[in-house]
Symmetry: C3
Subunit: 452 residues, 3 copies
């Protein structure tokens, strides 16, 4: 409450002046300043042992189970044709997702730093989990560029989930979410393959739907009363908006690689199709998102943060429906619809989700990944049915396709509930409302050290 009153002047002052302001407000809020450190309990005794324990565990597992693939064609084309796309996906996961969330005015370090931390933990864990089967049958897991890329895509689904709870959690939470989400996602992929014979390329692409529903359930379970009014620091400013634009453009630019990287190199025309379709869908969705953002705003202006996430909707939707898209115009129509749905969702649903369903969705993952993902799934269904010659095949496919979605959502929700209850444990020291969306809870700024 106190800090609330003190907020308005603070929000204009550069961060390192906080120490000074503290004394300035001493008269009115006497006694609260010395207690400030208690609001952001140190995570040293939680995060550091957890990270070291997990990391040493991973090294031990890698030592016993994992070797690098040595059976590569000697002409090297497989490697060299795959490597640039691997780097594009890497840039998306590390830079794109990291900087997309820097729009929060005082949470930039956490957004990029914890994104990196969760990503590298989840990638190692995904490599291990996805190799379990191979380890069971052959005693060894072989790693090559493709398995790294698939691990990065599993990680992307964890990073999407994290977007929903960002700012209201601490890095211990985020690492646990990352590992459990990836476990759920790999389990889902395995179930889809075993039960419904869904090929890997298609099941991986459901990462948007899986990640979004996981994140939403999680933020619903972790709901705190304080979310009902806007958090003091949950806003953007001119500079952080530009950093966020940078992350968004990185995702936008490299999305064609994201959607085409798993397409087999032996079918270059399918790969070209994936690249061109994604590219055109993204172009259409950038235009449509701008138009819709302007139409839906009460003052007829563009909302930068909304636009930044909605221009990506086309890439999400086309990714999910990739294997059924044949013509550029199909991709473009999907991109158009995805941008409309995404803008409408982020305009209308965000407040409703918060008030009616107690879901506080920091980075709007529902409208950026959830709704376009569902739309992509629907487009896949319609396009595939249109391509079927007879009714029997069409109905059969529809049943399979619906089961795929239901199973994915079921696994996503159940893992999220499990994760949510684990995280509600106070052992992990959740940040208090006043320290939400604030880097200073976790990061050391030299100014404070000097001023004190």
């Amino acid at each position: 409450m106190l800090v609330h009153l003190g907020w308005h002047p603070l929000s204009r002052a550069p961060p390192f002046e906080q120490g000074a302001t503290c004394s300035g407000w001493k008269r009115s809020v006497q006694g609260s300043c010395p207690m400030a450190p208690q609001y952001a309990p140190s995570l040293r005794s939680r995060l550091a042992p957890l990270l070291l324990f997990l990391q040493i565990g991973f090294v031990v597992i890698f030592a016993f189970c994992i070797e690098i693939e040595s059976n590569i064609k000697a002409d090297g084309t497989t490697f060299s044709s795959f490597y640039p796309e691997f780097q594009d996906v890497n840039a998306m996961v590390i830079l794109g997702f990291g900087f997309l969330c820097t729009f929060l005015v005082r949470y930039g370090y956490s957004a990029t730093g914890f994104n990196l931390l969760v990503a590298v933990m989840a990638i190692q864990w995904a490599i291990i989990l996805r190799g379990m089967e191979s380890w069971y049958y052959r005693g060894k897991i072989r790693v090559d560029l493709r398995s790294l890329v698939v691990a990065e895509m599993c990680t992307a689904s964890a990073l999407i989930s994290i977007g929903a709870v960002l700012g209201k959690t601490n890095p211990v939470h985020l690492v646990l979410i990352g590992l459990l989400e990836v476990s759920g996602f790999v389990l889902n992929e395995w179930l889809l393959q075993v039960l419904l014979k869904v090929p890997t390329e298609n099941s991986i692409m459901l990462l948007h739907v899986f990640g979004a529903f996981f994140g939403l359930t999680l933020t619903w379970i972790l709901f705190r009363e304080g979310s009902l009014q806007p958090f003091e620091k949950e806003k953007f400013d001119r500079q952080t908006g530009l950093f966020s634009m940078l992350g968004s453009l990185f995702l936008w630019m490299f999305w064609p690689s994201f959607n085409s990287v798993l397409v087999d190199n032996d079918f270059p025309w399918r790969k070209l199709g994936a690249v061109c379709s994604t590219y055109l869908a993204l172009a259409v969705s950038a235009v449509t998102a701008s138009a819709m953002s302007m139409l839906s705003s009460p003052r007829g202006k563009l909302n930068p943060i909304r636009m930044q996430s909605c221009i990506l909707a086309g890439g999400v939707a086309v990714g999910v429906s990739m294997s059924a898209v044949r013509q550029p115009w199909e991709a473009m129509t999907i991109g158009f619809t995805a941008a409309v749905v995404s803008t409408a969702g982020s305009q209308c649903l965000k407040t409703h989700m918060l008030l009616a369903f107690e879901c506080h969705d920091t980075c709007a993952v529902l409208s950026t990944h959830g709704l376009p993902g569902l739309l992509g799934w629907l487009a896949h269904l319609l396009l595939q049915i249109k391509a079927c010659d007879d009714h029997t095949t069409a109905i059969r496919f529809a049943v399979f396709h619906i089961c795929t979605l239901l199973l994915t959502i079921a696994v996503s929700l159940s893992m999220a509930v499990l994760t949510g209850f684990l995280l509600k444990w106070n052992l992990w020291r959740p940040p208090q409302d006043k320290k939400c969306f604030d880097d200073q809870a976790f990061w050391e700024f030299p100014h404070l050290a000097v001023n004190k």
Copy 2:
């Protein structure tokens, strides 16, 4: 005038304080505050319908005319050897050009956001226009990575034009400029091919000259009295200068891809030559631009914005003369001269252009693209003449080469005049002088919403 007096306090205040300052100045400028919204007329009724109409039109055209190339070599080398360069050019067009213009202290969102918007509209339009001939003869336009890259390069020429009018126009203007400029550029390429048999690689590389002259003519036609004193917000600060440096380095790094991407893969030594020449020319022009910037400054200091654009001059000049450059030192000499010309141009010409010719050139496209482009054309001429054995061939080539330039400039100027008169129409709601170079005319900031 009023706002000038009122500027100093504003320039230190974060954007969301404007509302507050407004009341502070009420006594002296009574009555102007309530009218403020009228200064930035909403573009909802202009931009949104225009974008939706054009975008739906493009989707329909794509549905009827465009298919993805399916005739690709099965070994996939064509695809995988082309894809990284495609992504480099993509990064230049979307990130490089977008962030290059973020130096304007309050125009960062517009610079990056509208750059993306114009780029994606122009790319779709360029794909359609450049496929017209194929559509006429075969009924279908085939899209592959090469046609996407060429479309991006046409778009680059539109983005150069936009650099000249940035800040003094609204997004409706920019989209119209983008589409008309691309139409003119494709027309020019077609005329050059039909009349003078100029190969595509060479005519595309004239994009710098075409774009610069188009932009300059446009800014001359759209000249407003208010440009004679410096605009209040037409300046940079420490942070925006770094964003701009980021964009500039993206352009600098990937310029070798830009110049070599259209060289046929079947001649890898020509491709290597293009990459190495561009790389060395850029290196020389970075050094020379620093030295010249220091020599020409009255205080012997470097001007960051000038340096950021002049380090690119070598890439522009070598790009235009690419097909005649054989030796690294030729490229380096061209880079050296280009940096000298570009720095001298941006030092001396900018004010003269404004006062004598009423050309207000926001991003200095004349000295960044125009002059180095002309220099590259001249270098091409000289190198080609030097390589000719006999006088007849040399003179013949010179005549052809001069005609190429004259035709390009003629098409550029006439399209620009046409575009300029279309844009002068008040229907498009041009921003008023006080709202120039200001994101708040087009973008919604949450601070304002909260304060009101």
Copy 3:
């Protein structure tokens, strides 16, 4: 004088307020304002002639000695498989190293701009020096992508050295350091090859050790009394920390390319091994650096700048030991140890180095490159000994390996001493203590010009 006294309040004010503050402090420091320019002596008469002289010299040398490799396989696979990795290394050298040092709150332009300047000078010089042998025997130096990449890696070693002296030197110093360091590094590579038959891939990878010791010796020789208390502007803030994070992530992402680019394309499995090992080592070192940073901080918080450099330690160490790493877990263990050593080093050694050895190490190159480099060398030794069958070979290898390191350090130290004494010459106008870490000594800001 005035401006000096007036500095503390200034350091919080945005740059364009300086003019105003100057008059505000007039009473206490009367008369000193007009003398201000003398504190930052113009470098026009030093830097510009030096750059132009060197650049023209380079162009002349290139004209007589250098041609582009024309003997390339016609299928183009060599070119197209190498180009993406070349661009990754390019992005690391130009963007990564440049933005890594932008954390200094008022030195962002210098960090990125001078990084570019030194890089392009050093690359040209490295191409010339490394081609001397070929020029001696064949009269011509042939340039291809591989020689550009090797030149960039030599440049990287110069950029590491520069990290140690950044902020306390002027661009003339930096250019001289760049050229002399590259000369020393190429000399070292040649000596290693001639005396000890060390292959190029291994000797190049010692760039981290060479660069770090060169930089440390240099900063020891150039030590100034003023470094004993912290410089006023040697700190970071929220925005500059994010720019620095961007640079750090660029280095992190593309490090696999850096370590694998020199591995011969004919052995794709070795290339894959290099990529996967580096990737896993970087992942482990990101996790470990976070945990260690939290453990070692007195408040249990993460230090952003320390973390940004320590996440790279794994890449450094694995790079140096690359040719002996066979299994992923070896790389991961090296990454783990490197992060521990690097964090411990940056926590404990920085102050000791300053007070005991009078080494002021701006960007902590000792703990980022020096210690992990030595660790990588040690890991190489141990792994190679483990792989040896008999004692004789092992001892022989150990002797060779120790000689390699000693020679490298000897060349590094002697070149650094030479360079240091050259730079102590007052002719180069070193910046005064008060102007250290300040862009305004070298860069022109429009605000100042307008206010005066």
